[in-house]
């Protein structure tokens, strides 16, 4: 199931670079696309703004199938303060832009499953696929607008996983 999580993140990151290459974050001394896996980074006192944060939550396993299917729930968190040049008054527009980017990143709803423990990453036999995102209402906290979206990501367990 780790391969599915890795493939899902890398697919979204690759798509984000094509959708909005300007969305970046300086993290661990490197400029990266503005998306990260929370559990693979140092703990945040407060989540960074204007980037997508993937947080893995629920897990379900269906063994009544020829191949075991795993469903993992991914919460995508993002927030914005708007831009400095607008004094933050464009934070609603900035969040809408992130909403659209997330929908675009999640389309199409599948990606090949790769094993990233190999170098270069090795293609596996099955794909990773997911449902349409379920968006939560906006959470305004003072000057910060935040939203979360939940996506259930499915994959089949292959031999050796």
């Amino acid at each position: 199931m780790q391969n599915a999580k890795d493939s899902f993140y890398v697919a979204l990151r690759t798509r984000l670079v094509a959708i909005n290459p300007e969305r970046t974050i300086l993290l661990r001394a490197a400029v990266r696309p503005g998306i990260l896996v929370e559990e693979a980074e140092a703990p945040f006192a407060q989540l960074p703004t204007d980037v997508f944060v993937l947080r893995w939550l629920g897990l379900g396993v269906d063994q009544d199938l020829p191949s075991t299917m795993v469903a993992e729930e991914c919460e995508v968190l993002y927030s914005t303060l708007g831009t400095q040049s607008f004094g933050g008054l464009d934070r609603g527009r900035a969040l809408s832009e992130m909403d659209e980017e997330l929908v675009a990143m999640l389309t199409p709803f599948w990606t090949p499953k790769l094993n990233y423990t190999a170098t270069p990453p090795a293609a596996m036999l099955t794909s990773v696929f997911w449902e349409e995102p379920v968006f939560a209402p906006i959470t305004p906290v003072r000057d910060r607008l935040s939203r979360t979206a939940r996506v259930v990501v499915y994959s089949y367990q292959e031999a050796g996983e």
């Binding site: 890795d6 993140y9 703990p43 990233y116």
Partner: protein, 144 residues
């Protein structure tokens, strides 16, 4: 943020802060900063260990904040760090600012204990920072 008052900046506040930190048993803290990072797929998904650099700063003083115990809560501490110690490392690492150094810092080690930075504040006098106050909490033990 600079002071617009018509006073010439001096290093008096920094020297006084350093002297006070040393007189209350000032010690050395080590900032664990991200070192050379190849920024590969593997490093972004927690598969390859990032290289770290240990950056010592001194003098520093730890003080425990007013206890407000909560079930499962962790103690919070305030780390008082000399601005001159930070500036020396900012210059040595060729960084733009102290904020850049703190942004790269994953953890602070004092007397063998790791702490995670919650927030950072700076005390200024005559437009110059003389002390950084880091709100930190104890990091959990990691598997070896």
């Amino acid at each position: 943020m600079s002071d617009t008052a018509s006073r010439n900046p001096t290093w008096a506040a920094q020297m006084l802060a350093d002297a006070l930190l040393r007189t209350v048993a000032g010690t050395t803290a080590t900032l664990r900063v991200a070192g050379t990072n190849t920024n590969t797929d593997q490093s972004q998904i927690g598969l390859v260990a990032t290289t770290f650099a240990e950056v010592p700063v001194s003098p520093v003083v730890m003080r425990k904040l007013r206890p407000s115990w909560q079930e499962g809560g962790q103690s919070k501490w305030e780390l008082l760090v000399s601005a001159t110690g930070i500036q020396a490392q900012v210059n040595a690492l060729d960084l733009a600012s102290a904020e850049s150094l703190f942004a790269m810092t994953l953890a602070v080690t004092v007397a063998g204990q790791d702490y995670l930075i919650e927030s950072i504040a700076a005390n200024e006098a005559v437009g110059q920072v003389y002390l950084y106050r880091l709100l930190v909490r104890e990091a959990g033990l990691e598997a070896v």
